[in-house]
């Protein structure tokens, strides 16, 4: 068995792992990313299919914020083209989401009632300024004390399902307020990567390699080595042979359950295993790619539905980035969430309802849309490895073994920024414990 020595090994090249790896490399740590699949990026990547560049999970990227900051810090190119328009469909009308006063405008359109709008906004304001609501009830339950108007509830359901991949009655109330507070603190401008998300990840990889970091693809981790409750490296399988890689720190982007499997559950204390078992709730999602010769959305290139059965978000990346499709073709990506984020799922039914929602909400879908692909996310490859508010800490009980990614999100964060934030937190801790080269 060949042997190698690094400061840090990162298992998995999702955005969480790559954030941690690129930052650590930038700080001078000898870092290796090992990725089992032939390409990097995980659920923030691209596959080409019949000439279309399809997302493998996440689609829109925040043009400003944690991701842009990360890329800037490590010197990676960050090409993202902003959306033209984000709208919420309320009562058949496409209402644009403004930066200032946007939420109030949506609620007013939904309720057609100043008093109800005022009451809900005041309750949200109190939650953000005074004290967060308790997480012991869902956001929907909390909100229903201020308004039982279904259209108002629908605005939040659409928002929550689109951003967090779960239903408003699954999200703990306090978590929503925390998320809202963070989201409102900077301009939320979304956009698309013109060459696809894989290109963005490759840009991060390039910056990392330029500073001496290494990324090995087609390299499966077989084991995380642990002695006396301290991590000391990994065993990986490449095309050619098995290798033992010694490292001071191991960061796993493979999800906490896989991490436990790789390190051996006998090395974890009971409390952690119990917490993991009771906490983790993977969120599931169905993503459908539809192609057409004319754009299928009329007024927006990103649309959140508030009154559909299942579909919560529809995006047309080709509006901002025509390069993602063959010339003259248009791509529409729609997302839906099952009514209960618990298995068993009846995907045939979920897909049928998703398509029904598309037929009812997009006039030309039936006549002009061709379904290119249907992607389901759940279980070991979910939309999110856990619901907001059900995350584990980044540290595992094993010293110097960390998790990053969407099962260890810091509170109040979702999506790509959440994984980046988890990566940053781990990097801060690593920096406080060991210096580069201290092998």
């Amino acid at each position: 068995m060949k042997q190698e020595v690094y400061d840090v090994v990162v298992i998995g090249s999702g955005i969480g792992g790559m954030s941690a790896a690129s930052l650590l490399t930038h700080e001078g740590y000898r870092t290796l990313v090992v990725e089992r699949l032939p390409q990097i990026g995980g659920r923030f990547s691209t596959v080409e299919y019949k000439g279309f560049k399809l997302p493998t999970g996440a689609l829109e990227v925040e043009a400003m914020g944690l991701i842009a900051e990360l890329y800037s810090e490590v010197g990676a190119g960050f090409e993202v083209r902003p959306l033209a328009k984000l709208c919420y469909r309320i009562g058949g009308e496409d209402v644009p989401m403004l930066y200032k006063g946007g939420l109030r405008a949506l609620l007013l359109t939904a309720s057609e009632d100043e008093e109800v709008t005022g009451r809900v906004m005041a309750a949200l304001k109190r939650g953000m300024g005074w004290e967060e609501p308790s997480n012991s009830i869902s956001f929907r339950e909390w909100l229903s004390e201020y308004s039982s108007n279904e259209k108002v509830l629908g605005v939040f359901q659409g928002m929550i399902a689109s951003f967090m991949g779960i239903n408003a009655y699954e999200l703990p109330a306090g978590e929503f307020i925390r998320w809202l507070k963070i989201t409102r603190s900077y301009p939320a401008i979304y956009g698309h990567a013109p060459k696809g998300n894989l290109a963005l990840m490759e840009s991060l990889a390039k910056a990392m390699r330029a500073q001496g970091g290494e990324i090995w693809t087609r390299c499966e981790t077989k084991q995380i080595l642990v002695t006396d409750e301290v991590a000391r490296g990994v065993v990986v399988q490449t095309d050619k042979d098995e290798m033992e890689i010694a490292s001071r720190v191991v960061i796993s982007n493979a999800g906490p359950q896989k991490t436990v499997e790789l390190a051996g559950s006998e090395n974890f204390d009971k409390g952690y295993l119990k917490q993991m078992k009771e906490s983790l709730r993977p969120a599931s999602s169905i993503m459908i790619h539809t192609v057409s010769d004319r754009p299928l959305l009329e007024h927006a290139d990103s649309l959140i539905l508030t009154e559909a059965r299942r579909v919560n978000w529809i995006a047309c990346p080709t509006e901002a980035c025509p390069e993602l499709a063959p010339p003259g073709k248009h791509l529409m990506v729609s997302y839906s969430t099952p009514a209960f984020n618990f298995p068993p799922y009846d995907f045939a039914q979920e897909i049928a309802w998703h398509l029904q929602d598309l037929k009812e909400n997009i006039p030309r879908f039936g006549s002009e849309g061709d379904i290119l692909a249907v992607n389901c996310f759940h279980g070991e490859w979910p939309a999110f490895r856990t619901w907001l508010g059900y995350d584990l800490p980044q540290k595992t009980p094993i010293e110097n073994l960390y998790n990053v990614g969407d099962a260890v999100k810091p509170s109040g964060r979702t999506g790509l920024p959440a994984s980046v934030a988890s990566g940053r937190m781990v990097v801060e801790d690593v920096k406080s414990r060991i210096k580069p080269g201290e092998a």
Binding site: A122, A123, R126, W130, E131, P133, S134, N135, S136, I137, E141, W142, E145, A173, G174, E229, D269, K270, G271, Y272, K274, Q275, E278, P393, K395, T396, P397, E399
Partner: protein
């Protein structure tokens, strides 16, 4: 109804409420403390009985820590005589432990096996330096992964119940570690004129800064409109007064606060959390008159008894607490389950048996003055450590202080003081004095 105006009203004159009031008055907030009972101090006060100054709760006073700091800051006299060095009775012998590494020393003594004690201590060290273990299992369950030695388990049980007031199988593991990481007072002692004297000195400081403390004054209702607190309705003798206030701080315990403000004013999530979280911690304790001390050290932890984990003899340090020639002996013990139902007779029997077994001549030399079984609304803590609520309620400007809202890792009197400090900091960030 009469009307009055204050910046802040504090309901309850326990150590939490009085620390909050003292800090606020010192910063210029017009503050009123209303206390239902004829005497201030709550469970940190004194009752005179048969010439003895008995405590109404706290057995020892923390020295050199937060409480003393607050007294110093507001100019209140803090007269407390220290215990030279607490002792630990382990397997019949008494030990004084070093200030640093005390836990390691105890574990070594009890285990007698270097490898075993090293295993336990390195697990604890990892919990402190790397990551606190999860709260999802109890400390006892966690410790069992590192040792099966009953003597070590029993020792931790005794230390935990003495300090945290709940059993080792009830304390969430993370809370044990948080406790170790929060600053603990360098020493303990006794107030020569009783705990009430300390509270009265705090009351003097409050009054010197233009605050007011009213006893025999019942808070009947906390006034709330539109999710915000507006004041309190109080009753003294037969007269009711409406007190308008920008802020209300309740030291009456989170459950009582909900009752006073009206359940309908609290959102469902908070009420659910209150219901599921709050667990009053019970304690059985004894105060006895003795004609000789029966102990050498005024503060003695027992590690091998069935129930009793702490025995104090304050008169060894402050003879004025008892009539001439007499001594006061106090002991505390948690029941084997901190959840109801409770069996008073059983607890009494076991506690007294422990005292007989550990102190030869107990029966001949002692007269039990009072045996108390604190629980429910008058407990040792309004909630088990690790089961606290936050100091803020959902109602704007309505806060809780005290041992139902202990900050994580905090215990004892300092937990109440720290909860008060956090509330005062929040108030300071929200309004200036007089901004009513």
């Amino acid at each position: 109804m009469k009307r009055e105006n204050y910046d802040v009203v504090v309901i309850g004159s326990g150590i939490g409420g009085m620390c909050a009031a003292a800090l606020l008055t010192q910063e210029g907030y017009k503050t009123l403390v209303v206390e239902r009972l004829p005497r201030i101090g709550g469970r940190f006060s004194t009752i005179k009985y048969k010439g003895f100054k008995l405590t109404t709760g706290a057995m020892v006073v923390e020295i050199g820590g937060f409480i003393e700091q607050i007294f110093g800051r507001v100019g209140a006299k803090f007269e407390v005589h220290p215990v030279a060095s607490p002792r630990y009775r382990i397997e019949g012998k008494e030990y004084e432990l070093p200030r640093k590494g005390g836990l390691r020393t105890i574990v070594s003594l009890v285990s007698g096996n270097e490898r075993e004690s090293e295993g336990v201590m390195s697990a604890i060290k990892r919990g402190l330096s790397w990551q606190k273990p999860s709260d999802s299992i109890s400390f006892r369950e966690w410790l069992l992964q590192y040792t099966q030695n009953e003597r070590i388990l029993k020792t931790f049980w005794a230390l935990i119940t003495a300090v945290q007031a709940v059993n080792d199988h009830e304390l969430p593991t993370g809370e044990f570690f948080r406790y170790l990481q929060v600053p603990r007072p360098p020493n303990y002692g006794f107030a020569p004129r009783g705990n009430l004297a300390l509270m009265e000195s705090l009351a003097e400081a409050i009054q010197a800064n233009h605050g007011e403390v009213r006893t025999r004054c019942l808070a009947k209702q906390i006034i709330v409109t539109d999710g915000m607190v507006r004041g309190v309705i109080i009753q003294k003798d037969k007269d009711e007064t409406q007190i308008a206030a920008k802020v209300v701080i309740s030291n009456a315990g989170p459950r009582k606060t909900v009752e006073l403000a009206g359940r309908e004013n609290f959102d469902k999530g908070y009420l659910k959390q209150l219901n599921e979280t709050i667990r009053p911690a019970p304690i059985f304790w004894v105060q006895a008159a003795t004609d000789r001390p029966l102990v050498e050290c005024p503060m003695l932890y027992l590690t091998g008894a069935r129930r009793v984990n702490l025995v104090v003899c304050p008169t060894l340090v402050c003879p004025e607490l008892a009539p001439h020639g007499k001594h006061l002996l106090m002991s505390g013990g948690a029941p084997d389950s901190s959840l109801p139902p409770y069996d008073f007779e059983k607890e009494k029997k076991l506690n007294i048996q422990d005292l007989r077994d550990n102190f030869p001549g107990f029966d001949e030399h002692t007269e039990i003055l009072v045996a108390s079984y604190f629980r429910e609304d008058w407990p040792t803590y309004h909630s088990w450590p690790g089961y606290d609520l936050s100091q803020k309620t959902p109602i704007e400007n309505l806060y809780n202080v005290g041992d139902g809202v202990k900050p994580p890792g905090w215990s004892g009197l300092r937990a109440c003081a720290q909860s008060a400090r956090l509330v005062v900091e929040d108030i300071r960030g929200r309004f200036k004095p007089g901004e009513a």
